[in-house]
Every structure is written in structure tokens, then in C-alpha cells.
Amino acid sequence: MLTAVAISLDGLGFAAWLFLASVGLTLIYGVMRILNIAHGGFYALGAYSAAWAIGLYTQTGQTIALTYLIIPVAALVVGVVAGLTIERGVMRYMYGRDEVLMVLVTYAIFLILEDVTKLIWGTDSYIAYQPAYWLGTIEIFGIPYTIYKFLTIGIALAVGLVLWWGLTRTRTGKLLLVVINDREISSALGINVTLFFTATFVIGATLGALGGALTAPEISVVPGIGAEIIVMAFAVIVIGGMGSIGGAMIGALIVGFARALSVHLYPPAELFSIYIVMALVLAIKPYGLFALSEGRKI
């Protein structure tokens, strides 16, 4: 019973973290058909900037409460700056090229971002535990949990809801669905496709940075976290079906629980349980659980 509770709470926690880290990736793929490896770079940038800003702020001795504002602000600044620079500077020259080639382009950008992060923040680790620590813990069946974890779960749900609402219930969202369906027709109808692409990329980048910034208080921020998260985020969105927000949520839950199960029942499997689940799902449903079917083109 205790293990079951621990597994489900940890599973939810992992799932929330994974969803936040991968929702931007699936959004960019859904709209732009770009599998954005640079997403790992945005995640790392977000984590570093948040940890760095929190560190600077807590040195001043002010109340910890304001650090909860620092996290989203850091993510927003990083996401907008990095997202705009990369989209306007590189990506827009590549639209319409082969999907696989776009993967390689974003891989190159990922490598560049990795070193940019190192150049800005050095190779030392950053620890910004204060926001996670300050909220304290609660006990559930005798097992202590940080309240911060529940906060992350709440934020993940909120992000999912806002995206769903924005995509299906607003005029902009409906226009975006038109753009996804047919770029040429929508631009002939007078929709500013370029603007939609830029906005999507920036939003995706910000979401990636937010995922990193929210995780920063729970981990020690070190070089290489971007490379680690990107493969997990791939697994999540591939399981759910690339480009589907709901799919990312289901994918995050599956992967999160797979990981929680292995952590509690068979720890050595922790590192690869995710990929085994991914390989299994793909073996049965080749394009993920919620992928839109596409006709073969002659």
C-alpha cells in the first residue's frame, strides 16, 4: 500500500515535470513540423537563468516568496530572447526543407546553445533549493512530500489547459489550426503564416525554458541536463503522438509512471525503462497513440 502511494505520487510528479519539459516540443512539431532538438538547449537555459537569478536574489536576504516570480520571468526572458534570435536568425531560412534536415539543423543549434550556456554560466553547478524548501513538506501516509512538487503538478495541468483552450476555443487558435492544415491556402486567405510560425516557436521555446526553470530548485543545475531531457521529451511526445498536446499529457503520464515503477520496484531499470516503454508503444502503434493519420503521397 505504501509503495503504491509512493509510486503514484512520484509518477504524477515525474509526469508533471516531463509534460512541462516536452509540451513546447510537441507544440512546435505540431505547427511547424520541426522536431526541435534545440529544445533541450532552451530547457538548460531556463534552468540556468532561474537558478542564477534565484541565487543572486536570495543573497540580498529578501523574502523567499518573490522567487516564485523569478522563475516564470526568467523563463519568459530566456524563451523570448533565445526563441526570437534562433527563429529569425536561422530557422526561417530553412522552412520547407526536409523534416530530417530540420532535425539536423536544430541539432546544430542545440550544440551551439550548450556551449553558449557554458560561456555565460561556466561549468560549475548551480543550486537554488530555496523555493522548493521554503514551501515545506506534507506527509501522505507517513511519506513526506515537498509541496513544491504539487505546485509543479498544478502548473503542468494549468499549462495543458491553457494550451488546449487557446488552440480550440479562441480565434487565434482556430486560425493556427488552419495554418497547420495547409500553409499555402491559409496564406492565400490572408493569414500571416510567418507571424504564426515565429509566435509558435517563441512560445515553444518559452515553455521549454519554463520546464527548466521550474525544475531548477529541485536539482543541481549542471552542464548536460539539456542532452538528458531532450531524449526523454522525445520519448514522451513520440508515445503520445507527435504534435498532440493531449498525447503529450498521456505520454508524460505513461513515462512518469514507468519511471516511478522502476525506481520503487527495480532501481537499476530506471535509466532505460522510459525507452523500453517507448519502443513497445512504437512497435504496436508506429506513429504514437494520438497521431493524426496522414495519407501516403505519391
Partner: protein
């Protein structure tokens, strides 16, 4: 099957005595880099071979690692030290595993192929990182190999291993080149252009992808054995996706025009890496990334297109016809 040797094959065959000769003349450190980059170069050419079919493997490190670990484990647990036996075992392991995985992977194209190859290689990464008997993330060391009972020492051992690396590596390159020029190899290019038409013409695209995958895996495993013996060490990093990414990088940079270009590209990259890491360790990836971007933008067919402009590539009628179809498409 073609009987005559073409220019690439003659060059590869000539490279064997030339490289062996250079081994006696060049300083030791360059010889070491040649040896190491022949091992990784084999993985790069197997990535390139798959790219000809339009398949980008983001997990070729899997077979590189399988080769290395098979050689290491054969030495560690079975006491095998014979180089030829190690090569055989490594290749066999790569062949067997890729044959089985091929049934799954041959159904996928484009980014799904990239993702699934990545996932499979990361499974092995996780497995090895958590296996303490195999040294977890630290890996373990390999003993120096023997040659049919002959166990040289000191300088002699180094040269013997160098020669024993050059010959199989170049022969593997020759094999892949032959494959790419064979009818089955051309089916791969047709798959890249338009898979559905290939099937309408009565050829199985699945079968072609499967054969390409197994061949590439076997050559990568041989590369892994040679690399592991050259360094005397294996660790799970061999199958991490960042390692596989470097092989993709080399193939992009060198281009898919010719089998020699990734081999050469690996060596150049290895040398640049040494200096770049020494001079400025934190901007090494930045350089790689920038070079990759510039290559994709300005030299979409890689550095090889500088050496051999596409007009002179057309030599056989078969090649000409594939090129024509490409032009009409674009």
C-alpha cells in the same frame, strides 16, 4: 555484381599499403589518431550508407558499443584475445542483434527512424550504465590482442594492431561501397526519392532497408571492436545519443557522395577536436554546431561536393538516370 574495380575501390585498396607504410614514417601520435579514426570512421560510413536511403540513424552508437563490449567481454569472461576471433565475434553480435531489430525498424522512415534508433541505443546505454559487473558508467579495460597465437610486445604490438586495424577497416569500406553500387544499393536511393514508386515497381522497400540496416550495423560493430582495441577501453558513452550525433555530424559534413569522404572527415575532425579542446574546451561544441549549420546552408551535399562536382559524378547510365529524375523533381 561488378567485376572491375572503380576508382574509389582502387583508391581504397591502394590506401592499405600507403597507410601501413605511413605507420612507420609518421610520428606516433598521428598514427594513433589514424587508428582511432579508422574505428569511428567505420561507424560514420555506415551512417552515410543509411543516409543514401534517406534514413538518418541517431543511434548508430548502439552497434559501435555492441562491437566494443563484445570484444571486451569476450576477453574478460572467455579469455579470448585473438584479434580475428574478436572481430568475428563483434561482427556476429552486431549482425544478430541488427537482424532481429531490423524487423521492427524497417517499418519506419524519416524522423521516426531517427527516434527509434535513438531509443534502442539509449536502452543499451541505460543497461550498461547500471550493470556493475561491467563497470557501470566507467566501463572497463581491454587486454592487448594476440594474432593467431602470436603475441607481440612493445613497439611491435602497436604496429601489429595498427596494421590489423587498417586492413579490415578499408575492406569494410570497400564492401559498403560495393553494396551502394549494387542493384540493392540503388534501390536504397530510390527509396529516398519515392518509396511508393519503388513498391509499385515490384521491389520490397522493407527488405532493402533491412539489408542496409544489418550491413551498416555489422560494419559499425567491427568499427567498435577496432576502436576499443585501439584505446584499450570501453564505456557506455559509446552508445549515448551524443556520440551517435557526432557520427551524423561527420556524414553531413563530409557528404554522402563517396565512401572515402566520411573516413577522411573523421580523421580531420579527430585532429581538430584535439586542438580545439586544448585551446578552448568550452567552445568546442559551438564550433561543431556552427560548422554543421554552415555546411547545411551552403554545402548541402557536404565537403565532398567541393572535391567532386556533381557533373562529373555521372559515369554510369544508371547513375545518370537517378540524377535526371532528381532534377525533374526539383
Amino acid at each position: 555484381m561488378m567485376k572491375s574495380f572503380d576508382r574509389t575501390e582502387i583508391t581504397l585498396l591502394l590506401c592499405i599499403p600507403v597507410l601501413i607504410g605511413l605507420g612507420f614514417i609518421l610520428p606516433q601520435w598521428i598514427v594513433n589518431y589514424i587508428q582511432v579514426s579508422l574505428g569511428t570512421g567505420l561507424v560514420a560510413i555506415s551512417v552515410m550508407t543509411q543516409m543514401r536511403s534517406g534514413l538518418v540513424s541517431f543511434g548508430q552508437g548502439l552497434f559501435f558499443c555492441i562491437g566494443g563490449y563484445t570484444a571486451g567481454m569476450a576477453g574478460k569472461f572467455l579469455g579470448v584475445s585473438d584479434l580475428f576471433l574478436l572481430l568475428f565475434l563483434g561482427a556476429l553480435a552486431g549482425l544478430a542483434i541488427s537482424f532481429l531489430l531490423g524487423f521492427l525498424l524497417r517499418r519506419y522512415r524519416e524522423i521516426f527512424y531517427a527516434m527509434l534508433t535513438l531509443a534502442v541505443s539509449m536502452i543499451l546505454f541505460g543497461l550498461l550504465s547500471s550493470t556493475e559487473e561491467l563497470g557501470s558508467t566507467d566501463g572497463f579495460n581491454l587486454a592487448s590482442p594476440t594474432y593467431l597465437g602470436w603475441s607481440p610486445e612493445g613497439e611491435m604490438a602497436r604496429y601489429a594492431l595498427y596494421i590489423a586495424t587498417c586492413i579490415p577497416a578499408l575492406l569494410c569500406a570497400l564492401l559498403l561501397h560495393r553494396y551502394l553500387r549494387s542493384p540493392m544499393g540503388f534501390v536504397g536511393e530510390a527509396i529516398r526519392e519515392n518509396e511508393l514508386r519503388v513498391e509499385y515497381l515490384g521491389t520490397s522497400a522493407h527488405k532493402s532497408v533491412h539489408i542496409t540496416y544489418v550491413l551498416a550495423a555489422t560494419v559499425s560493430a567491427i568499427g567498435g571492436v577496432l576502436w576499443a582495441l585501439a584505446l584499450g577501453h570501453v564505456d557506455p558513452e559509446m552508445t549515448n545519443w551524443t556520440t551517435s550525433g557526432q557520427f551524423v555530424f561527420i556524414s553531413i559534413l563530409s557528404g554522402t557522395g563517396n565512401i572515402i569522404s566520411p573516413l577522411f572527415g573523421t580523421f580531420i575532425l579527430e585532429i581538430i577536436r584535439v586542438y580545439a579542446v586544448e585551446i578552448s574546451p568550452n567552445t568546442w561544441q559551438l564550433m561543431i554546431g556552427s560548422i554543421m549549420l554552415l555546411t547545411i546552408i551552403f554545402l548541402p551535399k557536404g565537403l565532398w561536393s567541393l572535391i567532386q562536382p556533381s557533373s562529373s559524378v555521372v559515369r554510369t547510365t544508371l547513375k545518370k538516370s537517378t540524377k535526371d529524375s532528381k532534377e525533374t523533381r526539383s
